[in-house]
């Protein structure tokens, strides 16, 4: 047996390829991004004098606007998703029965089509003289203002795109509530609302939280909805980062923005996870 073998157990040794793969594929790019955020603006050499200039530049700029837009849009999206998805998730887990598979498929199949293609489809639907407004005009003679290229339509697009990411964890959460526990609460005198508030909601919370976090993290990084449906009427932070990395050829600035975004989202996620300890909810502690 080699020295390495003596130091590490068989488990560790077998995990080595995976660890190396993760280090190269996951940690290295992340570290590169962090490293780049400290080098002088518009340069491309990692090993030079590091400074916080890019961060100072960001704090002196209006980048916070993009952060606020991204966080705000994501928050609204998640809230709307929660309201829309809970009844559907409840139906999928408890009501639709054999039709659940069909409904699940209906929500899954669009995922096989590229997000951009689907969003362009909505452009054709909402555009002036398009499917919706054209039909309204032809059949009813009414010509409301187009909703395209507004912040409302961006939220619509985000809700549409991220719906499965809220729905499926939520469905899992709702289906985790045992029937007998629900019955027991009812039997102990709880009303339908009290059963929901006292038993169903807390017990399906793990799934709901995962849905919240998943759709929020994805929504904060959303870019296509604002570009395609919103006609860039709003510049989310991911678009700012994209501009820095492409047109502006200012990788360090883009990297610093990306690091800040990771920090902001990471902090929020950690805060939420602390606040709603999943283990505690499940009674594992």
């Amino acid at each position: 047996m080699t020295t390495l073998g003596k130091i590490f157990g068989p488990g560790t040794r077998h995990a080595v390829p995976l660890i190396v793969f993760l280090l190269i594929g996951f940690a290295a790019p992340l570290l590169a991004v962090i490293g780049f955020s400290f080098i002088p603006a518009r340069t491309f050499e990692l090993w030079q004098s590091w400074s916080l200039d890019n961060y100072i530049e960001i704090f002196n700029s209006t980048s916070y606007l993009s952060f606020l837009w991204s966080l705000g849009l994501a928050a609204i999206t998640v809230l709307i998703l929660a309201i829309i998805c809970y009844p559907i998730a409840y139906g999928l887990a408890r009501v639709f029965g054999k039709y659940s598979t069909l409904v699940t498929l209906l929500f899954t199949i669009p995922l096989f089509v590229s997000e951009n293609v689907r969003l362009y489809g909505w452009v054709l639907f909402f555009i002036k003289n398009g499917v919706l407004l054209g039909t309204l005009k032809a059949w009813f003679g009414i010509e409301p203002d187009s909703w395209l290229f507004t912040s409302g339509i961006i939220v619509f697009g985000m809700v549409y795109v991220y719906l499965p990411f809220m729905l499926f964890p939520m469905t899992l959460g709702v289906s985790m509530v045992p029937d007998q526990t629900r019955d027991a609460a009812f039997d102990l005198g709880a009303t339908r609302w009290q059963v929901f508030k006292e038993v169903e909601l807390p017990l399906s919370m793990p799934g709901i939280m995962i849905g919240f976090l998943l759709s929020f993290v994805l929504a904060v990084g959303a870019i296509a909805e604002a570009k395609v449906l919103g006609g860039q009427q709003i510049i989310p932070i991911s678009h700012d980062i994209e501009i820095a990395f492409t047109y502006a050829q200012n990788w360090p600035l883009g990297a610093a923005l990306a690091v800040l975004l990771m920090l902001v989202v990471g902090t929020l996620v950690l805060f939420v996870l602390r606040r709603f300890d999943l283990d505690a909810i499940l009674g594992r502690r």
């Binding site: 045992p178 007998q180 526990t181 019955d183 027991a184 609460a185 009812f186 039997d187 102990l188 005198g189 709880a190 009303t191 009290q194 006292e198 038993v199 807390p202 017990l203 909810i281 499940l282 009674g283 594992r284 502690r285």
Partner: protein
């Protein structure tokens, strides 16, 4: 229990699911303060019956009367009854105290008052006081049983239902809890309606037992009645190991067993009894020195023996028919396997049942 007014009356209660009839026209009166157990194998409709009684399932036809008032359409959360579930259905995200106080919190009872009630129940059920803030998921199986019972008692129900809550518990603990439950029944004086597939469990606790088969109550009686006078082969077999012989009535106290080509003396044959079964309990059978030692006798061969703690069971084969003979250890059979033996029993131990 006699002479008390009925708290729960069922009139021709029926439940169908599509073309399947789960409960067929059950009529039954349960007295105030009674411990009534419904026994039946799985699929006999006992759980469906219970769900109708609790209000979680609606009856297809028939009536459920609680102290004379029809409660068919009253939902579970409006009925003054409460159930202890098979899975216990404790709220895993709540502490022991919160579980017990649930129904009172729902009613809006003030915290101090409901905590006092919870602690009182915990004391009654021998749950340590410091368990009040313990997560229920950290409790042992027996403790969880007690929490579930306390939670149901805190609701202060007129009737407490039990859906096989002890089925998943190991034998020793189950035996302890059965007795505890019977004690609690005595202490509270409430009406308990219990369902189980174990007649043994029912015997320990119940005032009366109803045996269910295929959606119907086939026999209702005290444990003693069920034990000593099972009405049907099904009930008799449900009690445990019994010896069953197909017979035909030939006299007022005699039957003919075609299988052995002999007649047996029995208790008086019920009127109208034609073809049926003769049931003899294993402990009623004994080894004979000579044929004259018992009213009924068969000759067979000792095939095997099983030691069951204080008792020993013997498998005796008469032709192809297997008989079980049970003796106390002190009265063990002196011979060895494959000995030819005479087994016999008296008329008073000959129970006649129909199909």
């Amino acid at each position: 229990m006699n002479g008390r007014s009925p708290i729960l009356q069922l009139h021709n209660l029926t439940k169908t699911f599509g073309s399947f009839t789960a409960v067929k026209g059950i009529s039954l009166d349960i007295s105030e303060g009674e411990f009534f157990t419904i026994v039946g194998p799985s699929g006999s409709g006992k759980t469906t019956l219970l769900r109708m009684l609790t209000g979680m399932e609606s009856a297809t036809s028939g009536d459920i009367l609680l102290r004379g008032a029809r409660i068919n359409d009253l939902p579970a959360n409006k009925r003054p009854t409460c159930m202890v579930f098979q899975s216990l259905a404790l709220f895993p995200h709540r502490t022991v105290g919160q579980n017990i106080e649930f129904s009172q919190k729902i009613k809006g009872v003030e915290p101090a008052k409901r905590k006092a009630r919870a602690l009182q129940l915990m004391a009654q059920l021998r749950l340590p006081e410091n368990y009040y803030d313990k997560s229920v998921t950290k409790c042992s199986g027996g403790e969880r049983q007690r929490v579930a019972l306390a939670r149901a008692l805190a609701y202060d129900p007129d009737i407490l239902f039990f859906d096989e809550p002890l089925s998943a518990i190991d034998y020793k603990l189950r035996k302890t809890l059965e007795k505890e439950l019977k004690d609690i029944h005595r202490e509270t004086g409430k009406t308990f309606i219990y369902i189980t597939h174990s007649l043994e469990e029912a015997m320990v606790m119940s005032d009366r037992i109803g045996v269910m088969r295929s959606g119907q109550l086939v026999q209702v009686g005290s444990p003693q009645q069920i034990y000593s006078s099972p009405g049907t082969k099904f009930v008799s077999e449900f009690i445990g190991d019994v010896n069953v012989i197909g017979v035909r009535a030939t006299a007022t106290t005699g039957v003919h067993a075609a299988e052995f080509g002999v007649d047996f003396v029995t208790q008086p044959v019920p009127a109208g009894f034609g073809e049926g079964h003769l049931v003899v309990r294993p402990e009623s059978l004994r080894f004979l020195g000579s044929r004259s030692e018992a009213q009924n006798c068969l000759e067979g061969r000792v095939y095997n023996e099983y030691v069951l703690g204080s008792r020993i069971q013997y498998q005796v084969r008469v032709g192809e028919h297997v008989f079980i003979v049970e003796k106390l250890r002190q009265q063990a059979f002196a011979g060895s396997l494959d000995d030819q033996v005479l087994i016999g029993w008296d008329a008073k131990d000959s129970i006649l049942v129909t199909d």
